[in-house]
Symmetry: C2
Subunit: 268 residues, 2 copies
Amino acid sequence: MSATALIAGTGALPRLLAGVISGDWVLCEMEGFPSSVPGIEPVRFRVERLVPFLDGLVDRGIGRVIFAGAMRRPRLDPELFDARTATLVPRLLQAMQSGDDATLREVIAIFEDWDLEVVGADQIDPDLVPGPGVLTGNPTNADAADADRAAAIVAALGSVDIGQGAVVAQGLCLAVEALPGTDAMLEFAALHQGLRPNPDGARGVVFKAPKPGQDRRIDLPSIGPETVKRAAAAGLAGIAWEAGGVLLLDRAATLAEAEARGLFLWAR
Amino acid sequence: MSATALIAGTGALPRLLAGVISGDWVLCEMEGFPSSVPGIEPVRFRVERLVPFLDGLVDRGIGRVIFAGAMRRPRLDPELFDARTATLVPRLLQAMQSGDDATLREVIAIFEDWDLEVVGADQIDPDLVPGPGVLTGNPTNADAADADRAAAIVAALGSVDIGQGAVVAQGLCLAVEALPGTDAMLEFAALHQGLRPNPDGARGVVFKAPKPGQDRRIDLPSIGPETVKRAAAAGLAGIAWEAGGVLLLDRAATLAEAEARGLFLWAR
């Protein structure tokens, strides 16, 4: 089996994967964006020198690549480009202008041009991406209706390539995810939770899903203990998500947090 | 000319319209939701007694109705329904389950069943709903691109019957309007304005539009001096909106505020 490159951004996922990857592997980080993986010296790369980096991976016998964790678009320094990476720029710029999904698809395509197989986190650890089922708690019919409505909203947002989440209570949309992310959305929902028409009615659901048509090997939305804490602070009844399309980070801690706070966790 | 009923909710619009309606008119308010129109004793109504209210309007010689200002969905007390209003409940409930637009369309249809003509605010004062043009400032090409992207997002949100606004900076969506409204969205954008990738690049645009297919006689989105203040606090370059589809409340004060803070106002 060939070796694996873990291209690590921020967040808990790179650390979780580092603990379970089998076989030889190397940690890679974008310069200026250190990952949370402790105790391993990373290979650092810059987008401006992507071709030498890819050549280097192949030279090390890497055959498989996993992208894990959040990466922001770096600012590019025109003086740092090598000649071969420069020829990729038109391809990347065109993709970037079509949105995040297009950018990620193009990045995957470039890695594949080097015969590197790009795999998703679920191929390393299937437990990270739960299939259908209620993991804890008891969603009511009203919760299911709120989850349905939130799922429709997230699907509509996906068509314009933004957001992977929404908060719905009693059929009304309290918050929608945008660039600031899930935690910011839940903070906003907490601030405005008093808008629920019936204070004794359904408390509401946060729903997460990948964008329609998104390549599921990169940038799956994720849920973890912090999501549960913030959903509880927003007074919600639970967290629902698209089964097979969302990373459950730190399953034990997330379940414990949800049980302690009386929230349901539901992969639909 | 028959008399007019101004069905007034909260916000500045009812007061503005009260100053310019010609001919005889009466002020109507939903019980528990006082309007901002000073010095006039309103006719108060409850949804549970809608039929007697409609009969009363006809008896007073009302032929024209304007809905103005924000109204929340009231909580309904089953004991207060009269028999005839009760027969309308299935119609209203079915519409309410299909979202706000459907509810408003059904409310209009019910008023029309009583031969009451429902008119929009622009029929009272065309200046309230500006046609195409830049009212102040100079939107750049980058601002136009941000406004285009925001318009696409708002259109997508409209398909699931939520939101009438979005904030986009440098092509990235910082915030999306949901139930808490425009001011809350701009506050959220202000909180997260540091996410703009290029601090020296385009500052971003808030865009507002009615929902696609929305009946433009009720519930048009609106812009006023407060919108300008909050857009400025979020560091935005200006405010853009769909020409003919957004109420400009208090035009003089809004323009003065925008000029003082260097924001553009653009009906597209």
